[in-house]
């Protein structure tokens, strides 16, 4: 039986054994009534799909002589994929002994890459012996992942440290005393969870937060504060607290407080500090992170800018005085992303 991947249920370890038998029974029943799916949805890279298309084109009966390639792709989508897929297709088709020519008399092979609401469609069409031959390869957009996404540490500015299909409300650094890494607060279907990442941004633990109860809002907003091992979660009108060593023991109470003030980063060479501000208008536009001098005397003297792939939803202090964590929603992919911003000295 296939289930929506976005609705995966975290297993409750305590109840697992007691439910084992019933689960097995249900499984048997499910297998009886719902046969196994014909294919599981797997991650697909563009290279895989290009290879598949080239294979199918090369297998067209009576395809002889050189072909002239013409690529078509929506410019917005091309910004995501780049032109590498075109080179890959050229190589793959040549590998299968189809000659490519730039001669205008050569048979025109039109190759397209398109994005529909749910699918990515790779298509190829040409005339062979007065017959229009078309080959299509499609796969779900949700299964598509770019083969190589540059995620590399940078000396200054920003480093992508985590991305998730789940909505990330806030991120906080865990001090070295807690083993380092990050703590993320996620939101799905009115439920909150804490995600613990290690220093390499690998997911190490998921802690569902049931104590605050369902949080229904079109603008779910929450903030994390970590002090040593004590974690405070600020929700509208409430504060929940837990300790890193016993995260299941969470207590919530009504409280009045102000949301976090702008984060200030202080690189070693400038004790004056720089304030991190987002200036976007709403959730449909990409954002610029402005880094402006905190010192009013220097106002207007400089403002470093860094662009993000979507609206900035949260800014929190990082693990050091010169760093910060920025949560954004990538408008292109829909993923929530956490960036580490570091202000360093020099060029």
């Amino acid at each position: 039986m296939l289930s929506s991947s976005q609705n995966a249920v975290q297993p409750n370890v305590d109840r697992l054994l007691s439910r084992c038998f019933s689960v097995l029974l249900l499984l048997v029943l499910a297998i009886c009534f719902f046969p196994a799916p014909s294919s599981a949805q797997e991650n697909v890279t563009l290279d895989d799909a290009v290879r598949q298309l080239a294979e199918r084109v090369a297998a067209i009966p009576n395809l002889r002589g050189p072909v002239r390639l013409q690529f078509l792709q929506d410019p917005d989508f091309a910004a995501d994929t780049g032109k590498d897929w075109e080179d890959s297709f050229r190589k793959e088709i040549e590998k299968r002994r189809v000659t490519i020519s730039g001669d205008s008399s050569a048979n025109l092979l039109r190759v397209g890459l398109a994005e529909t609401p749910t699918q990515l469609v790779l298509s190829a069409g040409l005339r062979v012996s007065d017959k229009e031959e078309v080959r299509l390869v499609t796969f779900p957009r949700s299964a598509f992942h770019a083969a190589n996404t540059p995620v590399s540490p940078v000396r200054i500015e920003k480093q992508l440290v985590y991305r998730s299909v789940e909505r990330i409300l806030d991120a906080a650094s865990l001090g070295s005393a807690s083993g380092g890494g990050l703590l993320l607060l996620t939101y799905r279907n009115a439920d909150l969870s804490l995600l613990r990442l290690d220093a390499n941004s690998e997911l190490k633990e998921v802690i569902p937060l049931t104590a605050p109860g369902p949080y229904l809002s079109r603008d779910p907003h929450a903030e994390l504060l970590v002090h040593l091992a004590d974690v405070s979660i600020f929700l509208p009108g409430r504060i929940c607290q837990l300790n890193a060593s016993a995260p299941a023991d969470i207590k919530c109470r009504a409280a009045k407080f102000s949301w976090r003030s702008p984060t200030v980063a202080t690189p070693a060479c400038d004790v004056g500090g720089w304030r991190l501000e987002a200036e976007g208008t709403d959730w449909t536009t990409t954002d610029l992170l402005q880094v402006v001098p905190e010192d009013t005397a220097r106002k207007g003297s400089a403002a470093l800018l860094s662009d993000f792939p979507g609206p900035i939803l949260g800014i929190n202090g990082g693990e050091g005085p010169a760093s910060a964590l920025v949560v954004t929603r990538n408008l292109r992919t829909g993923n929530h992303e956490v960036y580490r911003i570091t202000l360093a000295c020099g060029n």
Binding site: M1, L2, S3, S4, Q6, F33, F34, D76, R110, G112, A114, E115, P117, T118, Q119, L120, V121, S123, G125, V134, R135, L136, P140, R141, S142, A177, S178, N189, R196, D198, K204, E205, L216, R218, D219, H221, H227, A229, D230, S232, Q241, N243, S245, K251, F257, S258, W259, R260, S261, P262, A278, G280, T281, D282, T284, T285, P311, I312, G314, G334
Partner: protein, 514 residues
């Protein structure tokens, strides 16, 4: 892995935080609650009964936009190709895609306070589902059984008329959506000038208990049937926040520095031959007209680049392969074909009669352009107005050989959309509907088959255009074309006429353009 740090008194850290945290604005922007969003649309009336909506009609698209305020769907599709749970919290299917199970989100209430039940969902969807799909309530949800594999069921349910509603004993409708219909008044004589009709009006109030969270605005006021130029004026002077703009007025709106958003092309304009006039049955005549049609000029000159020429039935954004269909303008060949036709076929004595089925000045202009193109190939084509051709709009008088029609794409499933379009076209010819291909190559072959005999000639694709006030924030539209009005908010600090989203782009690529 568990946290290893020993426990600290949590209260200390919180006290420290509260002490240190000054009252200050958050670094990022936040939505604003409150206000009334004023929307003006050109259609004179809408229906919130999905059972009465006609597939492909422009009116249905308007109905869906307003229905999305008061109803929800089982699932939705986000902008990234992912299906999201809505009223269905989970779903599953068997390997053959014939049996689908949907588990309902618990605790969802209709706006009358009653709980949503599996029976409600079943009762709402059964009259809407196409033949071959059977829905039954189960303990915690619904089961949909398809007689043939339905791998695209989620695409279908996430678009079109598949809303969940309940018909009340008094024949009114309730939903679970972010708003509820609070007021509805038909057109009425104006108080100041009784000879002038005041447009129909609908007021939707925020549903405080909406399962997905309360919408940001308090209410949505919708004015129906206001003339487009008046709508533009109202947007300019701050009397409306959202208006729809016909393609022929987009240029004017942009020249006046209004914020204009356009969708992917959602409306197909096409010609359909009808054997009611004998000449239309001649394949050479049809080919001659096809070769004479100058789609590029229609799109770029007549419609001032607010449309795209099309040779396919499904648009590229929906099928992904439309670029493989090419239309060739070849007047010499068209004339050659014409000269071989019998003299009375589309000659001066009996011109081919073209009726414009869709309403609007733009359609009439387009019809005239088709007639000009036909004449360039020595084909005589006479434009017949709808009122002159038919007293009863549902029946054609004999002798109409060509129809200019508009089709609004309704489904996110290209298969379902093509089938629906084929059914619409074939039912008018009394033929069987198209087959049901699920394989994309079969779908393309089916589309080719529908176009091969040139009984249908696609012309243009039109996006939807919307004028948006500068005070509107977070404007977004679902892939199905529905406006996400529950997610937008109003920023009163903005001037109504300034244009924060102005960009240099001026194309029909989706987005906001000046």
């Amino acid at each position: 892995m568990r946290f290893i740090e020993s426990r600290w008194p949590a209260a200390i850290s919180v006290a420290l935080l509260v002490f240190l945290m000054p009252a200050a604005a958050h670094a990022t922007k936040h939505p604003k609650y409150g206000g009334t969003l004023r929307v003006e649309i050109s259609v004179a009336g809408v229906s919130l009964d999905p059972r009465t909506w006609k597939a492909g009609s422009v009116a249905t698209a308007e109905n869906e936009k307003l229905a999305a305020l008061v109803y929800d769907r089982l699932v939705t599709l986000d902008d990234y190709g992912r299906f999201l749970p809505a009223l269905a919290a989970e779903w599953s299917h068997d390997g053959s895609f014939r049996n689908w199970q949907f588990r309902l989100r618990p605790g969802v209430k209709f706006t009358d306070g009653s709980f949503l039940t599996p029976k409600d969902v079943s009762a709402a969807l059964q009259p809407l589902l196409p033949a071959g799909l059977q829905i039954t309530p189960s303990e915690a949800g619904v089961v949909i059984h398809a007689t043939r594999p339905a791998p695209d069921l989620l695409e279908q349910l996430a678009s079109g008329r598949y809303f969940i509603y309940r018909v009340q004993p008094d024949n009114s409708f309730v939903g679970t959506g972010p708003f509820l219909l609070a007021e509805s008044s038909p057109p009425a004589p104006s108080d100041t000038n009784p000879s002038v009709l005041r447009p129909a009006h609908m007021r939707f109030r925020a549903n405080e208990d909406a399962w997905a969270g309360r919408p940001f605005v308090d209410a949505v006021d919708v004015l129906l049937g206001n003339p487009p130029l008046r709508q533009i004026l109202n947007l300019q002077v701050g009397r409306a926040e959202i208006i729809d703009i016909p393609p022929d007025l987009v240029r004017k709106a942009r020249q006046e520095n209004l914020r204009v958003w356009n969708s992917s092309p959602h409306t197909l304009l096409a010609l359909r031959f009808d054997d009611a006039q004998p000449a239309a049955a001649d394949a050479h005549l049809r080919e001659a007209l096809d070769l004479a049609l100058d789609r590029d000029t229609m799109a770029n000159v007549l419609l001032q680049r607010q449309a795209l020429p099309s040779a396919a039935l499904l648009p590229q954004w929906l099928s992904g392969y439309a670029f493989l269909f090419g239309a060739t303008l070849n007047l010499d060949r068209a004339k050659e074909l014409r000269s071989a036709l019998p003299g009375h076929f589309s000659g001066g004595a009996e011109p081919l009669r073209l009726r414009v089925d869709a309403v609007g000045d733009l359609m009439k202009l387009l019809g005239e352009r088709v007639a000009v193109n036909a004449r360039q190939a020595d084909l005589s084509l006479q434009l017949v107005s709808r009122s002159a051709s038919s007293v009863n709009a549902s029946a054609d008088p004999p002798g109409i050989g060509l129809h200019l029609f508009a089709w609004h794409y309704d489904s996110l499933s290209p298969r379902a959309e093509l089938q629906s379009l084929a059914q619409h076209l074939h039912s008018e010819k009394g033929e069987e509907a198209a087959a049901e291909p699920y394989d994309p190559e079969k779908l393309l072959a089916e589309e080719r088959r529908l176009l091969d005999d040139r009984r249908i000639l696609p012309l243009l694709l039109l996006p939807d255009y919307v004028g948006i006030a500068a005070t509107v924030r977070n404007w977004s539209v679902a892939p199905s074309g529905e406006w996400r009005l529950a997610d937008l908010w109003l920023d009163a600090s903005e001037s109504a006429t300034s244009n924060p989203d102005a960009s240099s782009g001026r194309s029909v690529a989706p987005g906001v353009h000046p």
